[in-house]
Subunit: 275 residues, 3 copies
């Protein structure tokens, strides 16, 4: 059985995810469908690519249909990508959205451009490729169809790529790391890993203003393993469930405390003495 | 296989859509279920009817359970409607919610009132007909049950109908058209179609104040096929993926620019010269 | 067929519910899954327990995976609980979340602690027990696996319990009752039932300020059966679809009128004369 997993910036109010499901179930009524999320910020390709990357190791065999697509209707390409190390196809726009997840799964074994209009839905306008181009292609692949029928092969090296999140090591165990994700609980995930925590049990952390190289304000974060180890109001830093460093509070929003937003850059350095 | 598709104003916080799914899966554990949307504005029957109309051409064979039902518990009728031109039943309140979608699918072949209490769930109060009356009826129909068992037939001509969205053609290629939908991206769908774009490559457009016949402010919209053709800040007008005219910006909200809300009326006229 | 029903405070933006579904579908691709809700307020165990209690009578046979878990990663226990009177297992943290629903289904027949790490997902950090501990356990049980394989039995009497919502009867048909739920429509559910309505056709109701024993402001609520019986702006009180008293308006928010929030306490007394 192949599972179809969906991710988009469609939101849940307008019926866009429902339209994807209708097109898929009209072809494969009983195919299992997972909604990874449809609440990526509108047109935020970068946030979508990072959410897909987080989901990648857990995706069941099948097809991922991912759409964050501000260029819909323009000559940007639609693509289907087969992953090297997983029984997975990714379908979506060629704008960088799919690449980080595909790379995490060993890279692309095969890429085709979704050119064959015989697989497209007839539509009055070109602004809903998710419904009209990507969903039929995803259903074709979920049914075990040949990807080569969907269009010509293209070279994986020429897929559009986004910049990787900023991460720079400095002296004395310091680093600068981009905020890759602020979740519902206000946890602030960084483009940094366990190795950046080795300086000691406390870390000084601050968000850099645009163009600054040192933060205007620094907070002391205590290295912990879980939220519940922290007293109220005490900032913590931990290795999160995706293996990244995250700044956290116990039952409160670290993002609000720090004034941190996705795309900001945090500066970290070991604290000499615990506060 | 019959698919059950759900639409409501229940929102996703309170567990109301989950209750529908529980009732249906208690009877048909493996029936495929689609959530079209549950984020219709509370009690906005008109918005629900338009969202259902947009979904109608794509619905897989089966049963649609739609609930936007401010009159729940009053003598307003519950109904099941079989569409003429599609293998689809619609179940919900008789308040106009279902009618536009049914009309788009060739009208009603059969309508029954959901009177037989043997199919209802016993409930302590009458305020959750979705769970107690509509969901069991939808499961009965999804299982291939006879609609006539649910209650007496009623005449489709006597179903409650909502006013159709305002659309008036004026002289010189002008028109007035209601805003039928503002989506998550701020695209402003109008009750007007491709023919209203024939006056030229630019359109003057404004939102009418209550009672006014000409707009206080007009914007120039350029006719395009896709969002990505527009430079930043340039208003566009295009035929959307449902065949309706829509006012759009590239990566920004046309609704915010225009101050447009669902139910407003827009005035359109050809622009003599491009700006 | 066993159904897996999900409830959490994960929200729908971050892909957390999708991660649960991925883990479950990697093991059981076609198992039916219901999303009861994922919009419990972050870390609000009490609200989650009440939402689960409301869903309990309608859950199809199978497994409920419920996660509102501020203590994740600390020594709080993970548990699987088999209900006495329903073909249902509940999986989640031992923090009171599951207990009211289990009690409503006859209490616990068997409880095991999720200790066997052979069933856990390997994970870089301990902060996502839903994905790494609870979802694999839920899949094991949904597949018909033996609960005793997941860990040692523990005594149901020693499960963590939350305080029950406040409800105190006073003289002359009066009572004080906690606000157990404010739903999307602004309906205010109380920890009181049909018997508290017997004083007459009108009730005086007010929200108690912290520490007060009588409300600063009282409103007159008319006893009705359905929202639609009320004229605009008239507060009503009815037995809701869960058998609890609720304060309501017709097409408007009673919570906004009353200034009522979940956890507040309302004071009710019979009104001598209709207003």
């Amino acid at each position: 059985v192949r599972v179809v997993s969906l991710l988009s910036d469609y939101g849940l109010a307008d019926g866009f995810p429902g339209a994807l499901q209708c097109v898929i179930r009209a072809r494969l009524p009983t195919v299992p469908i997972i909604d990874i999320t449809h609440e990526i910020a509108p047109c935020d390709v970068r946030a979508g690519s990072l959410a897909l990357l987080r989901a990648a190791p857990f995706l069941p065999p099948g097809v991922v249909l991912a759409v964050v697509d501000p260029g819909v209707g323009t000559p940007r390409r639609g693509i289907a990508v087969q992953a090297q190390d997983a029984d997975l196809f990714f379908v979506g726009p060629d704008n960088g959205l799919l690449v980080p997840a595909v790379k995490a799964l060993g890279g692309a074994r095969l890429v085709v451009e979704l050119q064959d209009r015989g697989y497209w839905l007839a539509a009055p306008g070109p602004t809903f490729a998710g419904r009209d181009i990507f969903a039929p292609a995803a259903a074709h692949l979920a049914a075990g169809g040949d990807p080569n029928e969907l269009g010509d092969r293209i070279d994986p090296d020429y897929l559009v790529q986004l910049p990787t999140p900023r991460y720079v090591r400095g002296g004395g165990g310091s680093c600068q790391a981009e905020v890759t994700w602020v979740d519902r609980f206000g946890n602030v995930q960084l483009a940094a890993g366990r190795a950046d925590l080795l300086g000691g049990p406390h870390v000084l952390v601050g968000i850099l203003s645009q163009g600054a190289s040192v933060p205007a304000v620094e907070h002391t974060a205590r290295a912990v393993r879980a939220f519940g180890e922290l007293p109220p109001g005490q900032l913590g830093i931990l290795v999160d469930s995706y293996g990244q460093l995250a700044l956290v509070l116990n039952n409160a929003s670290a993002a609000a405390l720090l004034g941190a937003h996705e795309g900001d850059v945090a500066a970290l350095r070991p604290a000499a003495n615990p506060p």
